[in-house]
Amino acid sequence: MSERTVELEVLRYNPETDGEPHFQRYSVTCREEWVVLDALNHIKETVDPTLSYRWSCHMAVCGSCGMMIDGEPKLACKTFLRDYPGVIRVEPLAHFPVERDLVTVIDDFIAKLTRVKPYLIPKEEKPVAAGEYRQTPAQLKRYKQFTLCINCMLCYAACPEYGIIPKFLGPAAISLAHRWNQDSRDGGRAQRQEEIAATEGVWECSFTGACSEVCPEHVDPAAALQQVKIKSTVDWYLAHTMPWLNK
């Protein structure tokens, strides 16, 4: 197995002792198949135990290792060192406040996620004894892609609108709302529309498509947002031209 030395430039920030964030260089002898997360773990174990970052699964399912790698939002466990020729710059996810080193404060995203009620609100409550809620493959297909989201927030770091307008609900939260709205078993759309059809909901999106470019799970949040726009527009025109439909 071939080994080589890689230079990493990692953003360091400890709010208790540092006035400003700064970069620290590390040289790591790494193996060909290592990802950025392996290099960070190696640094933490052998060089500098104070380096802070989030990770858990090391296989692109937990969504906790999102960071900016050479300026692009990436999962550290899915980004191979061999794809970067020079010094690799590693920074915390853009658009989120830094808690310490590569760890960001994600309260804003969690609050937004909670607001869109990303869970089944059954159309009809039925006792467990009545059996499962059935669904055809076609009904499953309408939302399956949007279930793949791992809440990694790369799309928020990529979204220029979220950078300008922090109140914007953002790609993942809206895609997840859409995921449940598209589910044949669900009856919660009216409740979710209050959030996602608001100005700070889907309407801050200008369809730059950056979210879909960086999404590691190919959720295609930009597509979900466009579908939400179309549906919300139909809602709006129906509500304003046929008021008798309003309950």
Binding site: E194, A198, T199, W203, S206, S232, T233, W236
Partner: protein, 116 residues
């Protein structure tokens, strides 16, 4: 939170965008063909003019022109914002006014267009 009224401007934008995505390539092709002197007889000036003089066609043309102009105006508005021009109300008023003026001008011209 209140439902946004953005669909008023977004609806015609989306419709216009879809429309022009299909129409623009056709128009480019036809213009090229005409420029090379290969316009099919059906699309010759006299035929098109007679076609456009029909009442329903006039209405259709105005709708198509409005949607296309509106879609371009809205795209320009968003682009301005993304490029850092944040006086959104001013930009919006300006670009939408141009789209409406263009539509009115087209409508006025079509109204005066009589069958030969």
């Amino acid at each position: 939170m209140a439902t946004s009224n953005k669909p008023i401007v977004w609806g015609p934008f989306a419709a216009g965008g879809t429309l022009t995505a299909f129409l623009t390539p056709v128009l480019i092709l036809l213009t090229l063909l005409a420029g090379l002197g290969h316009a099919p007889d059906l699309l010759a000036y006299d035929a098109l003019r007679a076609f456009a003089a029909h009442g329903i066609v006039k209405l259709g043309l105005v709708v198509v022109i409005f949607l296309s102009l509106w879609s371009a105006a809205h795209r320009l508005r968003i682009t301005c914002y993304d490029l850092g021009l944040r006086a959104d109300t001013l930009v919006a008023t300006l670009v939408y006014a141009v789209a409406i003026a263009g539509t009115v001008a087209a409508a006025a011209y079509l109204l005066r267009l009589n069958p030969v």
